[in-house]
């Protein structure tokens, strides 16, 4: 049973969230701020931290920084609604995902599960530090801002699904990913009927990456039902 550390200053939310997660088969320790988190840290062996960014005193970002210094523990941040800067700083600090408050508990649950699934795979290979930007074929992906820039530095909009798909492809560049692998990587992130949507999302992505579908050079179709992003990856 994965052990989750919840850090939120509101007692009611803390307790309700703990009960909700426990009902969904997690072990939960809930604390109110960074000080209590530090005290609870040594005897925890946590798999994930749910961290409210709006903490009194020390502040969520400080706590996130401290957590990062303790090792590679995945963090899901609870951010203020639409506060872009918080979100960007949080993600740059290496939060694995964020959920704006007020969140839907079931969505938070899905995100937690997705992050856990991703990090299990991540720990198998050597984790790379979160890149500020990833360049491939002249295109630039900025994970913190969740945005894509074309070779002329023009921002090209992506849907949530397209973005996650692109990240999955870029993280495993030059490796063939079957539809099932892509589905597995993306499930949890995407509420919609994503099964049939992989191919649709791929064709939308190719169009946005100006990659001709018939003679795709960047996202190549592999016979037998898979895709590969063929490009040199440059992280900065």
């Amino acid at each position: 049973m994965p052990h989750i550390l919840v850090i939120d200053d509101d007692r009611e939310i803390r307790d309700l969230l703990a009960r909700f997660l426990e009902r969904n088969r997690f072990r939960v320790t809930a604390v109110r701020d960074g000080r209590e988190a530090r005290r609870a840290w040594p005897n925890g062996n946590y798999q994930l931290v749910v961290l409210d960014l709006m903490l009194p005193g020390e502040g969520g970002l400080e706590v996130a920084r401290w957590l990062r210094s303790q090792g590679d523990i995945p963090i899901v941040m609870l951010t203020a609604m639409g506060e872009e800067t918080d979100r960007i700083i949080g993600l740059e600090l290496g939060a694995d995902d964020y959920v704006p408050k007020p969140f839907n508990p079931r969505e938070l649950l899905a995100r937690i599960r997705a992050v856990l699934r991703r990090t299990t795979e991540r720990t198998e290979k050597k984790l790379e530090p979160a890149a500020k930007s990833v360049r491939f074929n002249g295109w630039i992906l900025e994970p913190a801002r969740r945005r894509l820039l074309n070779p002329d530095a023009v921002e090209v909009a992506l849907t949530g699904g397209e973005y996650d798909l692109l990240v999955a492809l870029v993280e495993r560049a030059n490796r063939v990913l079957t539809r099932d692998m892509l589905l597995d990587l993306l499930r949890g992130r995407q509420a919609g009927p994503f099964d049939r949507a992989i191919d649709v999302a791929i064709s939308r992505l190719r169009r946005k990456l100006e990659d001709d579908g018939r003679h795709a050079q960047l996202i190549k179709t592999v016979r037998g039902g898979g895709y590969v992003l063929a490009a040199e990856i440059e992280r900065t």
Binding site: D10, E12, I13, L16, L17, R19, F20, R23, M54, A80, M81, G82, E84, T85, K101, P102, F103, N104, P105, R106, R147, N150, D152, A153, V154, E155, V156, A157, L158, T159, G160, G161, E162, G192, P193, A197, R204, R207, K208
Partner: protein
């Protein structure tokens, strides 16, 4: 009739009257300058012409008397031969006659003869040789004067002396210098007017900037007293507006933040309701509450939003919104359409623009069941984007009111389709903050059409 013509004539003249302060001031100055220069030039030229003429006449008087003196000294018989040997000067002719050659009725104006006679006195002639009579004819500007001397013994000497036309200006460089001087004065006026009216343009630009961004940099408070005072007043006004906006934003964020906690608690609590139907209804209500709070916050915040403008691909932004709409509402996917260039780059705040277009497209789908987005290529520096649907449209008298915050078209008041009444106001705020706008209209074929303009 005559009156209308006069008015038409006036309006024609008025149409030449420039509209800008700078051009008006410059035109007035230049007209004044031209008037002064023209009058000065005329006075100078007239004076010069008169002076020159007088000196020519003086010269003629002396020359004519000189010729007479040489001729009168000889005997009557020798005079024709003597006359031939005299150098008359260029253009002059001389003849000897027995009778007075001129009609006394055509005598020359007094001032002319007076000048000539006065100067004849400068050529001394011995007393017995004085002419018995001198008559003259000629008007000042016709090119020559005729002078008749009656010899003391017998006969007349008739001289025709050319009067060279006078030139108003002597040297050719004079006119050039004059033109240069005028141009220099005009250039100086142009520069001065530009300098003096510059602050007005600066003020207008600053007001325009403030309209788009309350955090725009303040005006420099220097220059002439009046300009500096205007700049100070403007900056004071800007800081008051800024404070007002900040207060409002702070208030809204505070409310939003305070609501966030109880809504989060309620959402968590709802998860413990065992009755599935009740729980889902509970959560749906909370989602709606959530949406309203978010929209109110967005409406309050977007004027003070610090999101930086970036180069973005508008085509991909619009496509993305349509794709997301299709993902969220698969049943409407076949009624979503995009028509326009594959890529169109412009500068804007991508999160804000996405929110604004999402609101328009969301409305089209919600009320019209479809959304056809058309991107019209840039013309006159603006791109136009239309979003059309096939719904019932909007009553004509409410096409503008729907942009008022919290206003909802009457039929949609019930919350089934109602929304927050903030989607369009938010969209309009965002487009206007980009220097564009959005308007709503009804299509002849039925359905509504939102038209967005944005600077390309």
């Amino acid at each position: 009739m005559a009156d209308t013509e006069a008015r038409a004539g006036r309006s024609w003249i008025f149409s030449l009257w420039p509209t800008s302060l700078g051009a008006r001031t410059l035109l007035t100055l230049l007209l004044g300058l031209a008037l002064v220069q023209g009058a000065g030039l005329t006075i100078h030229a007239l004076d010069r012409v008169e002076l020159q003429h007088e000196s020519e006449l003086r010269n003629i008087g002396i020359r004519a008397m000189g010729i007479y003196r040489s001729v009168v000294a000889t005997s009557v018989a020798e005079r024709p031969a003597a006359l031939k040997e005299i150098d008359l000067g260029p253009g002059a002719t001389a003849s000897l006659t027995d009778s007075p050659p001129l009609d006394p009725a055509e005598l020359t104006p007094q001032p002319l003869t007076a000048i000539i006679r006065a100067n004849m006195a400068q050529v001394p002639v011995r007393a017995p040789n004085h002419p018995r009579d001198i008559i003259m004819r000629g008007i000042p500007w016709d090119g020559s004067v005729t002078i008749g001397y009656r010899f003391p013994d017998s006969g007349w000497l008739i001289l025709q002396m050319p009067v060279p036309p006078s030139r108003p200006w002597h040297s050719p460089t004079f006119l050039l210098a004059f033109v240069l001087m005028t141009l220099a004065a005009a250039a100086l006026s142009f520069w001065a007017v530009r300098r003096l009216t510059g602050p007005v343009a600066t003020l207008a630009a600053a007001a325009e900037r403030l309209g788009r961004d309350v955090n725009a940099a303040p005006l420099p408070e220097d220059g002439p007293d009046e300009v500096a005072r205007a700049a100070v007043a403007f900056n004071t006004m800007a800081s008051r507006i800024r404070r007002f906006v900040q207060d409002r934003t702070f208030l809204l964020s505070a409310i939003g933040h305070d609501l966030r906690t109880p809504i989060t608690r309620l959402k968590l609590r709802a998860e413990f309701i065992d009755d599935d139907e009740l729980r889902d209804k509970f959560l749906a209500d909370l989602d709606e509450l959530d949406t309203m709070v978010s929209a109110t916050l967005a409406f309050g915040r977007d004027t003070a939003d610090a999101e930086p403008a970036v180069a973005l691909d508008l085509s991909s932004l619009l496509r993305t919104i349509l794709d997301e709409t299709a993902d969220a509402r698969p049943e409407s996917a076949e009624y979503l359409e995009f028509d326009g260039a594959e890529h169109l780059t412009l500068r804007g705040r991508s999160v804000a623009l996405k929110r604004a277009f999402s609101n328009l497209i969301g409305n089209a789908v919600k009320y019209g069941g479809s959304a056809r987005v058309k991107l019209v290529p840039p013309a006159n520096g603006m791109v136009a984007i239309t979003v059309e649907d096939d719904g019932p449209g909007v009553p004509p008298d409410q096409l503008e009111r729907v942009f008022d915050p919290f206003y909802r078209v009457e039929d949609s008041r019930n919350r089934e389709t109602g929304g927050t009444g903030l989607g369009l106001p938010i969209a309009r705020n965002i487009f206007r903050a980009h220097g564009g706008d959005v308007t709503l209209g009804n299509r002849a074929e039925g359905g509504a059409r939102a038209t967005v303009t944005l600077p390309a």
